[in-house]
Amino acid sequence: MSESSLLSINDLKTYFFTAEGVVKAVDRVHLEINKEEVLGLVGESGCGKSTVALSILRLIRPPGKIVGGEIWFEGEDLLRKSEGEMRAIRGGKISMVFQNPTSSMNPVYTVGSQIAEAIKLHQKVQKRQIKEKVVEILHKVGIPDPSKRMEDYPHEYSGGMCQRAMTAMALSCNPKLLIADEPTTNLDVTIQAQILDLMREMRKDFGASILLIGHNLGVIDELCDKVAVMYAGKVVEYSTMTTIFEEPKHPYTQALLESIPRLDVEKERLRIIPGTVPRLINPPTGCRFHPRCEYVMAVCSEQEPTPVEIGQGHTVACFLYTPKG
């Protein structure tokens, strides 16, 4: 683990023990986020990316359980901490922004009071100073007329403004790591652009690292330095942003990139990925992508590929690149 590493996830396993069977939502995932770095976590619904986020903050509830691995943050393994210690970390050193901004806030409390609560929990601030801080932070995220708007309720905010307020709440205690789970998915495109812009600025101002989770590679590209692609509970590819677009190596990444309609590329037909995302109760044997892969080989259904570094910081989990023998 290098000096510049802020968060290091090793071999994380989070399973859900349901009546129908064990769902291996996150199965041996490795991830690293450095200080002041933005890592994108990309994948479709059900691939486990949100579960990774919740695992970091130890917010997994039964029937889910973190069954293995380590999550190193500032020299300590988060998985070994007590609930009390985790509570101090949540919203303080590590905070999270969720997908549905309006429903992530309590509708019966004003926005200002919710931000104030976060500040009170994590910082030793005098009562009168809290109000100032709230106004300051609302102003920072671009909410117009903050001293008035802090008295409003969440439903009086538009979607974009809610997301700004949530971001304000998440940043109010100067976290080292901000986890943003699909923060712009439900927003209009022009508002999405605003929020991404905001996050870029926040990153500069606060020097926080960001774990940005989403399924839109374009959005990820806007903000992230590095990206990890997840499929069916596993990380299949990991590299810098530019590399993933210039030289995607994993068949899933390649197919994904080619199946999305793009404004700048003319195509008669889009590349399709046959089949559907597998259910994780009985995932395919060996490589989980093999039933849909056009390069499938015999070994793919028998063994699981281990991630292999094929270039500068570029890792792929695929037998096309694993040296045989």
Binding site: T190, H215, L217, G218, E246, A255, L256, P261, L263, K267
Partner: protein, 322 residues
Amino acid sequence: MSETILEVTNLKKHFPIRRGLLHRQVAAIHAVDDVSFDIKREETLGLVGESGCGKTTLGRTILRLIKADAGKVSYMGRDLFKLNTKEMRKVRLEMAMIFQDPYSSLNPRMTVADIISEPIDIHGLAKGNEKKRRIIELVKKVGLAPFHMYRYPHEFSGGQKQRIGIARALAGNPKILVADEPVSSLDVSVRAQILNLMKDLQKEFGLTYLYISHDLSAVKHMSDRVAVMYVGKLVELAPAKEIYKNPLHPYTEALLSAIPIPGRKKREKRIILKGSVPTPIDPPPGCRFNPRCPYKQPICEKEYPKFIEVEKGHFVACHLRK
């Protein structure tokens, strides 16, 4: 083929906001305001816009699922609003709709066969073995297998449900299909399947599409021409390639620039609009985009610009582009 199949003229739909004991109207939501355009045979017209722009209301008003307040919709030369219930029912066979949410658009208590054959049943188009044959044909056309026929919707994935919805839309041999966000609820890797299917079916059956979506990339991929809506009005209409290369309306420009494109290396100067997307409640006179427009002029607040053809086939409503 450049023959017009559907013509919309000055279509208007306002939703009144009523308050008080007497339900007095205090304001109105201008969902669709004086919209005119046409769709040519076998073309795909894309209708794009953000939330609240009125595109969904427009689609439903055209199909007379919502009653318009004013204007005319002419299908194959017939004024749809003047048809009586019986005549309209027959026309509905030719104008089908594909819905956004595959989960709620299929009756959970009906089998796939019953769902697909509904247009056939309603209009008595076929019975018995002939009907069964047609259902099987449709099922295969959309990429499902005949043995799926007697299953229930909940046994299928989102993408498959959407296929069922498409089969149902095709059952009456429609000429024009209104697709309201057909792939927005689906997983990214499944969208391509449905979009390709729609294109194939269009070629095979000579269908005309009105493709409504907020996803400009998908719209551009599917459409021949694209119409952009903002707060109840059409602000731009042009061939798909044109819209991208040469957007004339400031909103279209901003919209295009806001869309994240993977791998776009040069972080070119982005147009970030201030403010939120406005609600269409009692909009002020003048251009509705003016509060957020980077090129605003005094006239933009006073007068609404006319929707005119500034280049061949390229329409804009903007004072700057006259």
